[in-house]
């Protein structure tokens, strides 16, 4: 893994290379199956923003449980800028949206690109300052956490309302944004579990601090499984009960017709049933192997769910998705491994507050 630890210039080079490759794949080699790019973009944006949002939420709530891995989670924040850069490629794929050509003040290509890019870049900037303030234990970290969360909610709502929902325009659901930013948070927790699990393995499974993080994250994952089900069901029930053709079509296409039907039920299984049933017991919540497995289940569940949202409207390409996911996965790994060079030192180590606290605890 140490080989993944790159110098900043090499990291920048690899980032540009990856973005270039994704651009090449999407704009030249895979021009016909335009849904792939949206899948890649929506999943990875949710994952990186969610990871930072988790730290921000813990900071805003003055929760200390995440501290042992907050540095690891914050390592992903540069990826938000990468996602903002990649997003611009969507400008060449606007034909995927049925609203193209309509005169709507909100739904017009240039405004669409500008507002989303601006929000992503702002989100990156605030994440950058927040990460620095948190790791250097500056008093501004609380305010920045709230700013970041604010932008996170707007950004993920835009992912839902701007990127995915208009694929089936004029279908709409007011809860769509809520589901997306909740899911992004869910992904952040899954990432936290994987990072805590990895740290535990690196340190031969001894530190109780990390075990505690793992257990708390597992509890959160269990809670989010329930919350996900609650939001999913709220949306489903309102649409089912209203039984309006312009609303039900979206659900029916995904629920009743193969192959989306299988994926639809699969996503429910992976995002709710499996984590809920597995993590209900205290024993499983304390097992690093089981909890890490559940985190992978959640990651797969979100991918599956995004496929269900996108594929019936725009076709996907398997090989392109695999390539893009591999490239972005590698990029995330590089950023993570290079965190010591990219992030400032953890001032908590020499924080007077911490020292004083330790003295008192004896």
């Amino acid at each position: 893994m140490k080989r993944l630890n790159l110098r900043p210039t090499m990291l920048l080079l690899f980032t540009l290379l990856s973005m270039g490759m994704i651009g090449l794949v999407e704009l030249v080699l895979n021009a016909g199956r335009n849904g792939t790019f949206l899948l890649t973009l929506s999943f990875w944006t949710a994952l990186v923003q969610g990871s930072v949002a988790l730290v921000a939420a813990a900071e805003a709530a003055q929760g200390k449980w995440l501290q042992p891995i907050q540095r690891d989670l914050l390592a992903f924040y540069p990826m938000i800028l990468v996602m903002a850069g990649l997003f611009l490629f969507l400008g060449f794929k606007m034909e995927i949206y049925p609203w193209l050509g309509e005169t709507h003040r909100w739904l017009n290509p240039s405004f669409f690109l500008v507002r989303n890019a601006v929000v992503l870049v702002l989100s990156f900037l605030v994440a950058h300052f927040f990460a620095r303030a948190t790791l250097q234990n500056r008093p501004s970290k609380g305010t920045l956490a709230i700013f970041y969360l604010f932008l996170f909610v707007i950004s993920q709502s835009l992912v839902a309302f701007d990127w995915i929902m208009p694929l089936e325009y004029p279908w709409m659901s007011t809860l769509f944004g809520g589901i997306f930013f909740m899911e992004s948070f869910y992904l952040g927790i899954a990432v936290a579990v994987l990072l805590a699990g990895a740290q535990l393995r690196r340190q031969n499974g001894t530190p109780s601090e990390i075990r505690k993080v793992l257990r708390d994250s597992a509890t959160f994952m269990f809670g989010f499984a329930l919350a996900w089900a609650g939001l999913f069901y709220a949306q489903y029930l309102v649409i089912w009960y209203g039984n309006l053709p312009e609303e039900t079509e979206f659900i029916l296409r995904r629920m009743h017709f193969s192959p989306y039907r299988e994926l639809f039920y699969g996503s429910i299984l992976l995002l709710f049933v499996v984590p809920f049933v597995t993590l209900v017991s205290r024993k499983t919540k304390s097992s690093p192997a089981v909890v890490s497995l559940m985190a992978l289940v959640v990651l797969s569940g979100v991918i599956l769910e995004r496929i269900v949202y996108i594929a019936p409207a725009v076709p996907l390409s398997g090989w392109a998705a695999a390539l893009e996911f591999t490239l972005l996965g590698l990029l995330v790994a590089f950023y993570f491994q290079s965190r010591e060079k990219l992030l400032p030192g953890d001032s908590l180590v020499e924080s007077p507050t911490r020292e004083a606290g330790e003295k008192i605890r004896g």
Partner: protein, 452 residues
């Protein structure tokens, strides 16, 4: 003995209190004669309750034609009051269950009174659908039970029936949860009681609590299980209440965001009511060292967050009405903002969106007078929110020939006032007869942040 304070964690309970002192402080209002202030408050709220009882009796005897409803606006004041009170009832169980699971130890000073508030609020809420039945003495027809009315059976597809199940379950669990938490304190009062009657009553209510390790262990297990049970209920009750509206196809009601938005609104209004009550109670009962300014600040933060979710929901609803290009949805939101009930809409926006923004400032969060005023505004705003949702969506029907205005009658206003009377009467009785603060739980956090 000298005391050190942790630089990492602030003490939850202020002052150098001993365990015995906590018991004495909390038991004092129960063991002394009520003050003049208490009598004034009690008699006022009881009088308002009597007015409410008179109004309810009159409308039951005469029929719900005494209300201002008409053929277009079939739901108005009653359902507004119902949703309002169910919302108020959300904070108690949230504090007790969710904050318990999140290990928020500051909850211990306020959980008992907030839970009591939940129970009284749900009682108030229950009155309105009951009267709305028209023949409340047949209320048991809502419950599915083997009957001799042939194929007549409750409609399981009706969200109103879901309400019945959701609220009755919520009430039962909240009551059990509250009572379980009360048992050790009842035993404390039993042991302190001087009169035989008091001793017997508290002994009965404490269910033979002996304070042994085994009893405490079992108590903690039950408490944890009930907290886990109550948590989904906190989220489900108002989701189901929101379904009364969202499952219909009326513009302004049929919205998928309603369930989480109603839950956030309920917690928002519930905490505002807790703040209103706590700010008065801590002063009157001399509990300033137990319910500290830090407690108030933390509750303000919850009000700010949930208020933010409510504001976001308003924004999304308005945005979606515009985005959808659905003329009926657009009309509803334009009518809300600019129509004949615009005053109610703007009251709602001012109280729920604008005024709570003041809570971003630490100085304001720590100013009791300002927080008290803000909490009152939020309560008013949340009542208006329900009024706006219900009346503005109904009074402009699809057919312009059915367009009407709604005005509450004096009977409806008296019933609403009566529900407040019931709420405050119950709360004042609670203050006199049951420990306002969970003695056992507060003792557990007495040394939190202090190193003795």
């Amino acid at each position: 003995m000298s005391m050190h304070f942790s630089v990492l964690r602030k003490p939850i309970i202020h002052g150098e209190k001993t365990l015995a002192q906590v018991t004495t402080d909390v038991a004092r209002p129960l063991e002394t004669r009520p003050t003049i202030l208490w009598w004034v408050a009690f008699l006022t709220s009881f009088s308002v309750l009597v007015i409410g009882v008179a109004a309810v009796t009159y409308q039951i005897m005469t029929g719900i034609g005494t209300w201002g409803l008409n053929k277009t606006v079939g739901w108005a004041f009653d359902i507004t009051n119902f949703v309002f009170w169910v919302g108020i009832g959300h904070a108690g169980t949230l504090i007790s269950a969710i904050l318990f699971l999140f290990r928020q130890r500051w909850r211990t000073s306020i959980n008992r009174s907030a839970e009591a508030m939940t129970i009284f609020a749900v009682m108030c809420a229950g009155i309105f659908p009951l009267i709305h039945l028209g023949r409340p003495w047949l209320f048991f027809w809502i419950a599915p039970y083997p009957n001799m009315r042939g194929p007549l059976w409750v409609n399981f597809r009706s969200p109103l029936l879901w309400d019945f199940f959701a609220i009755s379950t919520y009430f039962t669990i909240s009551l059990v949860f509250w009572y379980i938490g009360l048992m050790p304190d009842m035993a404390t009062l039993r042991d302190r009681a001087k009169s035989k009657i008091k001793k017997a009553v508290y002994a009965f209510m404490s269910f033979g609590w002996d304070g042994s390790t085994r009893t405490w262990q079992r108590y903690e297990t039950v408490y944890l299980l009930l907290a886990a049970l109550a948590t989904p209920l906190v989220l489900s009750v108002h989701s189901i209440v929101s379904m009364d509206f969202a499952t219909s196809v009326i513009p302004g009601w049929h919205s998928t965001i309603f369930p989480p938005y109603f839950v956030a609104g309920a917690v928002f209004s519930g905490f505002a009511m807790v703040l209103t009550l706590m700010i008065i109670a801590r002063k009157v009962l001399n509990y300033e060292e137990y319910i500290t300014i830090d407690h108030i600040e933390k509750m303000c933060k919850i009000v700010l967050v949930t208020g933010g979710i409510v504001a976001l929901s308003y924004l999304i609803e308005i945005f979606m009405a515009w985005y959808s290009v659905n003329e009926y949805e657009r009309f509803v939101f334009l009518n809300r903002a600019l129509g004949p009930y615009a005053w109610a809409f703007w009251t709602m926006i001012t109280c729920n969106v604008l005024i709570p923004q003041l809570l971003w400032f630490k100085k304001i969060r720590r100013s009791l007078v300002i927080v008290f005023i803000i909490s009152i505004f939020v309560n008013i705003g949340m009542w208006f929110e329900r009024f706006v949702i219900i009346v503005t969506s109904l009074h402009r029907d699809f057919l312009p020939s059915s367009w009407v205005m709604y005005k509450p009658t004096i009977i409806e206003i008296a019933t609403l006032a009566g529900s407040f009377g019931l709420f405050f009467t119950c709360f004042l009785l609670f203050v006199r007869f049951i420990p306002f603060i969970a003695i056992g739980e507060v003792k557990g956090v007495l040394n939190y942040g202090k190193n003795k």
